[in-house]
């Protein structure tokens, strides 16, 4: 890892392809997706269920269930190491150590019969040379870092004794225990109440800034994206359809799907809005990945679709500086939706 890493990129994903072999045929869950994450940066991946955002994360972690899934193409480079070529033992050294992941439902990712402190200690002792005592002290310190009150006492408790927000804090403590270069958070606050969500998001952003961790935040909530990310990838039907800085994306979305998503979101701050005004809906539904249309996957739902959209898949092009979109008509779209 001596080669100079300009612009401190920690993760470089190129042309990632992950497919699933199912009874109803092969489908491309992730199709030719590329992105990078820099030190201390937050990259949000947005999209609706089935768009491939979680499979992208699992592919980076090499956790795609095989069978039926398999990463069939592309490269994933973490701090100069090609993850896809590592054997499982080497990969285990990296997981939880250099990359960590937190999931939506903390109750299913914590071991219910192990004390919180022991679970964090386990990660530490697996990856770092530490005595049990040192590791326990470090675990308590991590719990304090994620602002769990009375960390000494909480470390002795079991997951069921903690509330949902506390469990997610404990997960974050565990994920960051080894100071990973990259943290992947897959819908980390979706299962939480809105006041707790605000606490957890503020915590993640704060810790990430302090520790310089790169963060991939997977979410369906554009509000969460706007409040946390620096760059955003929008995915639809397994493909990256748009990438931009968060400011550009919200100010000037280029892909009709992104625009549709933004317009279909009800805004809380709608004082002036007429009661029971209709939302701008995106007609139709997400196509099945086993039966994608030949051209742009969004064409059947797109108001701007022309014949070319239905025939040829539009390549990702740089529409503005650092603003990519895969749409034949992207240049015609200007301004907020």
């Amino acid at each position: 890892m001596i080669e100079a890493r300009k612009d401190d990129t920690i993760l470089d994903v190129k042309n990632l392809q992950t497919v699933f072999f199912t009874n109803s045929g092969l489908f491309r869950a992730v199709d030719d997706v590329s992105f990078t994450v820099r030190r201390g940066e937050t990259l949000a991946i947005v999209g609706e269920s089935g768009c491939g955002k979680s499979v992208t994360a699992l592919s980076v972690m090499r956790l795609v269930p095989d069978p039926p899934g398999r990463v069939v193409g592309g490269s994933v480079t973490l701090e100069g190491t090609d993850l896809l070529s590592l054997d499982e033992a080497k990969m285990r050294d990296i997981r939880g150590n250099r990359i960590s992941m937190i999931f939506q439902e903390p109750m299913t990712s914590l071991n219910p019969v192990m004390r919180i402190g022991d679970q964090i200690t386990e990660v530490l002792r697996l990856h770092q040379e530490m005595t049990a005592k040192e590791a326990w002290a470090k675990a308590v310190e991590m719990l304090r870092l994620v602002r769990i009150p009375e960390p000494d006492r909480r470390a002795h408790e079991y997951p069921h004794q903690l509330s949902g927000g506390m469990r997610q804090r404990a997960m974050i403590a565990m994920a960051l225990a080894c100071r990973p270069a990259l943290l992947i958070a897959d819908e980390p606050t979706t299962a939480l109440d809105v006041t707790i969500q605000a606490q957890i998001l503020a915590l993640i952003v704060d810790l990430q800034k302090r520790l310089g961790t790169g963060l991939i935040l997977i979410t369906h909530d554009l509000g969460v994206v706007a409040q946390t990310a620096q760059r955003v990838i929008v995915m639809y039907a397994g493909k990256k359809v748009e990438e931009a800085t968060v400011e550009d994306l919200f100010e000037n979305p280029k892909h009709p799907y992104t625009r549709g998503l933004m317009a279909s979101m009800p805004a809380v701050i709608s004082f002036g809005a007429k009661t029971d005004a209709r939302l701008n809906e995106i007609p139709g539904m997400v196509p099945s990945l086993t039966n994608l249309p030949p051209g742009c996957a969004f064409a059947p739902r797109c108001r701007l679709a022309v014949d070319r959209c239905r025939a040829e898949y539009p390549p990702l092009q740089e529409i503005d500086a650092n603003h990519l979109a895969a749409c034949w008509r992207a240049t015609e779209l200007v301004g907020a939706p």
């Binding site: 707790i196 509000g223 946390t228 400011e247 279909s264 004082f271 009661t275 939302l279």
Partner: protein, 333 residues
């Protein structure tokens, strides 16, 4: 909406659950799921009920339909108190109140066709059979944006959004005057959410029924409701017209709730959590105002006495001791 008698009137609704423990299953505690809730819904009106998990909003929904038996309180539908009615006496009233649940995967029988699911209430209430029923079901399918030829399909052949449409068609089948929606769009994707919300709005315009709309998503509630009630630990802490509530929230909890919603605008960065800590357990709710443990404006009185829901302006009620029981006007909305 007119000033005539409200369609639904709920007074001092209480629902307590016993917590049992030990070998003898003795009562060791009480869950105060709903603790004295009063509100009304006018004809053609949508009342939104928001709150975080465990605040009792779903228990209110189910009590209104008498799917759970309230511990005390009165529920009047069209002026008739339905709390004491027997099962048989309830039946005619059930026609006028229907419910749409959150999870359209769990609330449809997987072994029945969509057409049979929507037609079943008509059979149960003896309203239509055979061809007449088929025609009515086809009409309902069209109303909710499904094709009549999909009547023979089974639930698993539909997407989440379409299943929710089936649930809505089933709720419509008896021509209800009140539809209780318990988190009807929470399980759906954003683009599909908008479709279902639009459908609910369109149907109300056409049929003039009322919704009791329960959700945790403030944006969704703000969009669909005429009035909004905010619940915290089994009590309503604030209730007002939608625009008034969102422009001028007076209860510190409502303010915290609104401030916690991430705004979809990167320039409006404000991820400062307004409240710390977790919601206390409803088994031993805090004394006085239930929010006092997390409230940044807490006074001694808040810990001892429970504030009543008082008028703080036209149609704006708030349960807070600040400013002589009118809550705290927000400085910078």
């Amino acid at each position: 909406m007119s000033d005539q008698r409200p369609l639904l009137e709920v007074t001092d609704l209480v629902k307590h659950y016993a917590v049992r423990g030990g070998v003898l299953r003795r009562r060791v505690g009480t869950v105060h799921a709903v603790d004295g809730v009063s509100f009304s819904v006018a004809k053609g009106e949508t009342l939104g009920l928001v709150g975080e998990s465990g605040c009792g909003k779903s228990t209110v929904a189910r009590s209104v339909l008498r799917l759970v038996e309230p511990s005390s309180g009165a529920i009047k539908l069209n002026g008739t108190d339905i709390t004491g009615l027997s099962k048989a006496e309830m039946r005619p009233h059930r026609r006028s109140m229907q419910i749409v649940f959150q999870d359209p995967f769990a609330s449809l029988n997987p072994r029945m066709t969509a057409g049979d699911i929507v037609g079943e209430p008509l059979t149960v209430h003896g309203l239509a059979t055979g061809r007449a029923q088929q025609e009515r079901v086809a009409e309902l399918f069209a109303q909710v944006g499904l094709r009549p030829d999909q009547m023979k399909n089974y639930p698993h052949q539909f997407s989440g959004g379409q299943r929710q449409r089936i649930c809505i068609a089933r709720a419509l089948s008896l021509g209800p005057s009140l539809i209780v929606c318990d988190e009807p769009v929470s399980a759906l994707d954003v683009s599909i959410q908008a479709q279902v919300i639009n459908l609910l709005i369109d149907l109300q315009r056409k049929n003039d029924f009322s919704y009791l709309f329960i959700a945790h998503d403030l944006a969704v509630v703000a969009h669909i409701s005429h009035r909004v009630a905010v619940m915290y630990l089994g009590r309503i802490v604030e209730i007002a017209d939608k625009s008034e509530l969102f422009a001028n929230p007076r209860h510190p909890y409502t303010q915290a709730l609104l401030a916690s919603v991430p705004v979809a605008d990167p320039k409006a960065k404000r991820l400062a959590p307004m409240v710390d800590g977790d919601v206390p357990s409803p088994i031993n709710p805090p004394s006085g105002c239930a929010f006092h443990t997390r409230c940044r404006y807490v006074m001694d009185r808040c810990k001892m006495e429970r504030p009543a829901l008082l008028e703080a302006g036209e149609g704006h009620q708030v349960a807070c001791w600040l400013n002589d029981g009118t809550g705290r006007p927000e400085q910078n909305p």
